[in-house]
Subunit: 217 residues, 2 copies
DNA sequence: TCCACCCATCTTGTCGACAATGAATATACA
DNA sequence: TGTATATTCATTGTCGACAAGATGGGTGGA
C-alpha cells in the first residue's frame, strides 16, 4: 500500500521535511505505474503531509516553526475536548482498548524504546478520541497527533527521559478520570498533559546551543 | 476547474446526498479524460464530500442525521474558538473584510435572496476564522461551515425568515466584539449565535409533520 | 418451482505513451 | 563581458486503451 508506506515514512522522518518526492522513483520502488502513485500523493496533499507545487513537483511538508504556537493551541484544545468527551461517552470496551495501549506504553518505556513510545502515545490518545465518539474532533486530533509525531522525532532526537516518565503518570490519571466518567477531572488532567508536552518542546527548542557565544575573538 | 465545480454542486445539493457519481459522464461533461476527474474525486473524498466504495463507484456523501449532535458540538466549539482568536489577532484589514461581508449579508437579506444569504454567511464566518490566524481551526471550521451549508439547504428549503434576521443582529454584535478586541464578549456572542442556529435546525427537524395523525380510520 | 452456478456486461483500477509546462543551459547580440 | 533570448531537457499533466473486479441475468440441475 503506497499511501500507507509514504505516510509512515513521512511521519518517521525517513523522508525529511522539505525533501522532493520523485514520482518516477516511487514508480520503480513500488513496481506500479505513476497513476496510483499520484493518487496517493493527492491524498497525502489533502492531509497536508505533502505539498504539490503545480508543474514543479511535490515535496514533503516542511515543519514551519512559525506554525508552532497555533499547533500548540489546537493540540491543547483537542486534548481537552476529546478527553472530556471520552469521559462521557466511553464504553467498557473503549476503556479496555485504552488500558491496553497504556500498558503498551509502559512496556515501551521499560524497554527504553523511544520509537515505540512515540507511536503508542499517538495511538493512546487516538483511542481516547475515538471513545469520545465525535469524528470531527477525532480527525483533526489525529492530524495534530501525527504532526506531533514528526515534531517529537525532529526535536527529540536525543530523547529526554523525564518527559516519557511524566507521560506515564499523566496517562494513568487520564484513564482513571475517563473510567470514573469525571469530566472536570478529565479536563484538568488533559490540560496539564498538554501543558507538559508543550512546555517541554518549547524548552527544548529555545535551548541556547550557541557553543561559541563566549569565545574570545 | 472540475474540483471546484463538483464541490459547489455538492454543497448546493445540485448533486443530492447519496447519489452516484459517474466518472464517464463527468468525462463527457468536462471534456477531459478520466484521470483528472478521478483526481478531483480523490480530493473530494479527502474532504469527506464524497465517499468511494472500492470497485463499486463513488457517491455524494449522505447527510447522516445521527451525526448531527456531533456536528453541532464541533460547530459550536469552532464558532467560539475562531471568534475569540479573531478578537485577539485581527488586523484592521481583517475587520474591513469582515464588515464588507456583513454588509453583503445585509444586502442579501434585504433582497430576500436565500441562496446568497447562506453563502455569504459561510464566507463571513470563514473570514473571522481567517482573522484568528490558526490554520488548524480554519480548516476544520470551513469544513463544518460547508457541511452546514448542505444542512441549511436540505432542511431549510422553505426558509424561516426570523432566523436570517437574528443572524443579522448577532453578526453585528460579533463584529463589534472583534473590533473592540473583547474576547469574553466575542465568546458570549459566538456561543449565542451557535445556540441560535443549532436550536433552529433542531426545531425544524423535530417538527411534527404527521398530517394524518388524527385521521379517523 | 427454486436455488446455485456460470457467463456477459459494465464500471473501476492500472498502464504506457504523448503533450504541455517550467527550468537550465547554450547562444547571440550589445 | 554581461544580458536577453532561444533551445534543450526533465518533469508533470493528460490521454486512450487494457485488465481486473463486481453486478445482474440467464441457464442448468434438483
Amino acid at each position: 500500500m503506497v499511501y500507507g508506506s509514504l505516510k509512515r515514512e513521512i511521519l518517521d522522518l525517513v523522508l525529511p521535511p522539505g525533501s522532493a518526492v520523485d514520482e518516477v522513483a516511487l514508480t520503480e520502488r513500488f513496481g506500479m505505474s505513476r497513476t496510483p502513485i499520484r493518487e496517493a500523493l493527492v491524498k497525502l496533499a489533502g492531509e497536508g503531509l505533502v505539498v504539490t507545487l503545480p508543474n514543479r513537483g511535490t515535496v514533503v511538508a516542511p515543519i514551519d516553526i512559525l506554525d508552532l504556537p497555533q499547533f500548540f493551541d489546537a493540540l491543547t484544545l483537542m486534548y481537552r475536548v476529546t478527553t472530556r468527551l471520552a469521559a462521557v461517552n466511553r464504553t467498557d470496551g473503549d476503556l479496555e482498548t485504552i488500558r491496553a495501549l497504556q500498558a503498551g506504553y509502559a512496556r515501551a518505556f521499560a524497554a527504553r524504546d523511544v520509537s515505540a513510545m512515540i507511536e503508542v502515545n499517538r495511538d493512546f490518545h487516538a483511542a481516547i478520541a475515538h471513545a469520545g465518539r465525535n469524528g470531527y474532533y477525532s480527525e483533526l486530533f489525529e492530524r495534530l497527533l501525527d504532526e506531533g509525531r514528526r515534531l517529537l522525532r525532529f526535536y527529540y532526537s536525543s530523547f529526554d527521559e523525564t518527559l516519557p516518565l511524566a507521560f506515564l503518570d499523566e496517562h494513568e490519571e487520564m484513564v482513571a478520570a475517563i473510567d470514573a466518567r469525571d469530566v472536570a477531572r478529565a479536563d484538568r488532567v488533559a490540560t496539564a498533559h498538554a501543558d507538559q508536552i508543550v512546555r517541554q518542546i518549547q524548552a527544548y527548542i529555545s535551548q541556547d546551543r550557541r557553543l561559541n557565544a563566549d569565545l574570545s575573538l
